[in-house]
Symmetry: C2
């Protein structure tokens, strides 16, 4: 982060025509964005939404309410402009790109072996890395992948401890039996891959998925480019956590867009020290919660960079 | 509300390409907006932000951290485009109008008499009523008025009971002594006007203010026109509460945009049965929290009205 820009943005904030602190968290957001963008007047004119899609061998264990063919069908829906993330991207002036990662070749069932081999996880990370537009001033990453709350729960359990039951949720809508099955599947994965649980990138390879690795790759690239990132829900946050566990502070350029209704998201955000901007009960994925939070960031930045100072406006201070 | 449109919007929501309920509160918001707009595909293309400004005799009691001249200075800032509400209105594509209500003639100090006479409160209500654009598809009302958290606290106390201390807050930033003074001032107002506390419109006249009455007038007009309204913070909500106490259900076309950091706002929203959309520590007024929530409503409506159905997209259901 650019310390001079951070200080400049904080100084500017103190001169704007409002009582000190009256814009609450919007003030912190704008200063933080300025620090990463390297300016005392941050901007949000070129937000980029990137959606990654993947399929999961672990679906064979009955962990999802929807059939696996929905992944490719929803990718078609993204390309046709019919999904929630298309509408949200458009509403907030974001470009949107979709990357389908070998949908006809699901990852391996992680209860029987590693989800990906080295070449596969590297290819997925690189797809994410290369998907970021270097000219973007804000990045949102989202995902689509039937069954992917299960690998996300496996990542969270591997990285932060606790059994499967403490990290699985209802995803797109499994019943109690499905929830119990997900917990058993995660526990089986943790047992099979016990030897790698101390190595976050190996955890991604053995228990993750292609779209999860791609999100991590994109978040890392945004960091290299000093572009602020809004994290989405449980799956995005679990993928991002792999970076934080690899290098502490790796997510300092990320803000949590929302608190998902997916059970363990709040616990995962707390473990990362992230306070969500929104809490509206979303649990769709696709980057939808983060895309909705673009509006909050746009508002924060518009106030910070567009408001008059007390001196400019001739307004008396307190 | 249009029951057929409400049912149509709910039916449409059930067919969209997402797991049932996965957009959380966005789904309820879109259906609600459809019901008021009388369509199964609500829109948010012409949001209107209206800011009312007034001055308050009670400022003589030392209830604000800022001098009274700031009201007219900030109106100048609104006209020049330099305030937070200007940036937020622009960011969310809203028109913005400003109505300064006799700033050189403050209301009377309510600890010594009625804040307004009948002609004055009627004129203020009418200003609000006439300020609403009949072609708007969403209305936000905001205010500017140095000292106006004190009349707002007086309204809340008069309408919902409890002494001044349970409703006053720090406003733009008074210290502990200022806070205690505000409570005593509210209590003095409640004592002086004890005879009218059962009549909400008389409460507005005796304890309120011009911009508070104007906000109530605008919210009532939006109801007559079936335009959804986003409520702002403590002062806006207290003004709106006068309508609810006059006719139960009068605020069914209103959603709470945010939870203000002004102390008693949460209690006031609870008393009205309203759950805020945002909670970001704002306490600026001007309609800023509600304007920020336009983004949430835009996102909800964009998803609801723009998404493909399962049949349209050829996506398999659960």
């Amino acid at each position: 982060v650019d310390a001079a820009a951070l200080a400049g943005a904080a100084a500017r904030n103190g001169q704007l025509t409002k009582p000190p602190g009256a814009l609450g968290r919007l003030e912190d957001l704008a200063i933080w964005a300025g620090g990463w963008q390297g300016t005392d007047k941050p901007h949000c004119d070129r937000p980029q939404v990137i959606v990654f899609a993947g399929n999961h061998g672990v679906v064979a264990q009955g962990v999802s309410a929807f059939p696996a063919e929905v992944t490719v069908q929803m990718v078609g829906n993204f390309h046709a402009g019919g999904a929630a993330i298309n509408q949200l991207s458009k509403a907030f002036g974001a470009s949107m790109s979709v990357h389908a990662l070998e949908l006809d070749r699901p990852t391996a069932d992680f209860t029987r072996g590693a989800a990906m081999d080295e070449a596969e996880v590297v290819a997925a990370l690189a797809t994410g890395w290369n998907a970021v537009d270097a000219g973007a001033d804000l990045v949102v990453v989202g995902e689509m992948g039937i069954g992917n709350t299960t690998p996300a729960a496996a990542l969270a359990a591997a990285l932060f401890g606790g059994g499967g039951a403490s990290w699985v949720g209802r995803g797109t809508g499994v019943d109690d039996a499905g929830l119990a099955r997900k917990a058993r599947v995660v526990d089986a994965g943790l047992a099979l891959h016990a030897a790698v649980l101390g190595d976050a990138l190996e955890v991604m390879r053995c228990l993750g998925g292609r779209e999860l690795a791609a999100m991590a790759g994109a978040i890392a690239r945004a960091r290299a480019l000093r572009i602020p990132v809004i994290l989405d829900g449980f799956i995005c946050t679990a993928s991002a956590a792999v970076l934080e566990k690899t290098v502490a502070g790796a997510l300092d350029h990320c803000v949590a867009g929302h608190l998902s209704a997916e059970g363990a998201h709040g616990k995962l955000l707390s473990a990362l020290g992230k306070e969500p901007l929104l809490n509206l009960g979303l649990r769709l994925g696709e980057g939808s919660g983060a895309a909705l939070a673009i509006g909050v960031l746009k508002g924060a930045i518009a106030c910070h960079s567009g408001m008059a100072t007390f001196a400019e406006a001739g307004v008396s201070g307190a």
